[in-house]
Subunit: 313 residues, 2 copies
């Protein structure tokens, strides 16, 4: 869309934008069929502890930040509406590889009153529904990409699931020098991804990996009730999932342990209303498109990309 | 949703959120039926001349701003996709009355290759479709508000249209001390609004009122091909509409006349691709809900409002 892309890349860009619109339509249809209420959280947020990488805004005489997702507000919304979703922009002020990272991206985010296993089922059903719908409704724009719509028609639930522990074992057997407790860096994640033909989940990451609101596994408290959705074929993480802490006392302690300012913990905790199981997931729209269309650079998945070194037009 | 609203106001808030979700669903259905492609523009924007009231962001080593709408990008998108729409957050860093103004709001925005009259027709069809749909599908949540769904079922096209010139004449006859060239301030707009039972358009505002990209009326160059959509019953502007300049030379001169920095004009002009008629409109989602539900304060139309004096939770 931008100046340099008008000529050579324009047909591909138009095809991506058509696939993107179909994808969103298919996702919303799935949410509607499954009785999720669409909501919008704020983009402009007050500070809250331990979320590095937020863009800062001058908000009149206060400091504010651009959202990294609906999570802080999901608890209050789920208490009243039970099953919710939002499709909205989110932001990361990080100087990461522009191959896989945008500073502004769109998130497909859902939350509901349920456990981790139940939300993983919702998440895989959503992804499979979108792939099926695109295989039927987007054959024409997919001709511009190295992806057959048959492959999309074959994306079916249940998705494979491996635990973080299993992932580490697998990588060790393949000769990677990796120990339990290490993060799955890009080469490790890519290796695992190459072993799958369908999107798959890695579940139960160590406690130290996750944000303070993620619930511990009652059976193994050093692990969390968390999961990443990974694209197959050597692509990367599409989304993250977690069962959240719903007891104010526990969350309050976790926030204090992480040195969250009391004023920041206070507004956050004021949103917690119900002590019933609550889980949520978020899918990165452009990551999803990058895998679907086998794009080399994530910025090809949007008309006017924002990366740490690209602000125009 | 927020702390103080949990008890007494909670039922109303939940009802609003349900109406809001239905409204968005009805709007998207209309866009889909009428072959608009959904798009997303960037939230983080470079500077462009003469748009006061933008929030500034520190974007690594550059200055950037939060979007006030899709307009800068609509021209490039419309060139390729013909009819587009977006539903996305937009921002105003202005200390205005919190009764009618949010600093963060959601915009339902559309653009297409057509003249002002054609886009006004699309706009009124969209609004009427949404009102009809809500009258059928949202009877239950509307019970919480002083609005009968029959009134919504009676919102039909074509909407009344008066020119700015006629509006000034009408106000003068009613005894208001107002002359041609004056803006329609809140009491004036409210008075006009009270004369209508259906949303209506005020068209052809003076050139000095409009942003530089608005096309002049070829028959009367002191006027523009512009329109505001006004809610009836004493409510306010719901949206704005304009046919846009599509000749780079004319726009370039207008930007220079308004002392736009050449670097700012450059990226903006790089997005202009086709010299065919191009018009667009934007509806403020919360303003629309404020009128539909007869809300006293616009912040009642969203779960977590942002006003110049309200940033929490």
């Amino acid at each position: 869309m931008s100046g340099s892309r008008v000529n050579s890349k324009n047909e591909k860009t138009v095809a991506i934008l058509k696939i993107r619109a179909r994808l969103l339509d298919a996702a919303r249809s799935w949410f509607k069929q499954n009785n999720y209420t669409e909501v919008q959280g704020p983009t402009i947020m007050p500070a809250v502890g331990d979320w590095p990488g937020s863009f800062e805004i001058k908000y009149f005489d206060k400091k504010a930040y651009l959202t990294q997702g609906l999570q802080p507000y999901a608890s209050a919304l789920v208490a009243d509406l039970e099953k919710i979703y939002t499709i909205a922009p989110a932001f990361r002020a990080e100087k990461q590889s522009t191959q896989r990272h945008l500073t502004e991206y769109w998130r497909i985010e859902a939350a509901q009153q349920c456990t981790l296993n139940r939300i993983l089922h919702s998440e895989e059903e959503l992804i499979a529904h979108v792939c099926q719908a695109l295989s039927k409704e987007a054959a024409e724009p997919f001709k511009h990409f190295n992806r057959s719509t048959n492959e999309l028609a074959n994306v079916k639930t249940p998705f494979p699931k491996i635990t973080y522990d299993q992932a580490i074992n697998t990588l060790q057997k393949e000769g990677f020098n990796v120990v339990w407790g290490q993060k799955l860096t890009q080469p490790l994640e890519e290796n695992l991804s190459q072993q799958f033909k369908s999107p798959f989940f890695i579940t139960k990451f160590p406690l130290s990996f996750e944000t303070y609101f993620t619930k511990s596994d009652p059976k193994k408290p050093e692990l969390t009730l968390s999961a990443d959705l990974i694209a197959p074929e050597g692509y990367m993480e599409l989304g993250s999932t977690a069962q959240r802490i719903t007891q104010k006392k526990i969350l309050s302690k976790r926030m204090a342990d992480e040195n969250t300012e009391p004023s920041e913990a206070k507004w956050y905790l004021s949103l917690m209303q119900k002590d019933t199981p609550h889980s949520g997931f978020a899918i990165g729209l452009e990551r999803f498109l990058q895998w679907l269309c086998k794009l080399e650079y994530i910025k090809e998945a949007t008309a006017f990309p924002r990366t740490h070194d690209e602000l125009y037009p």
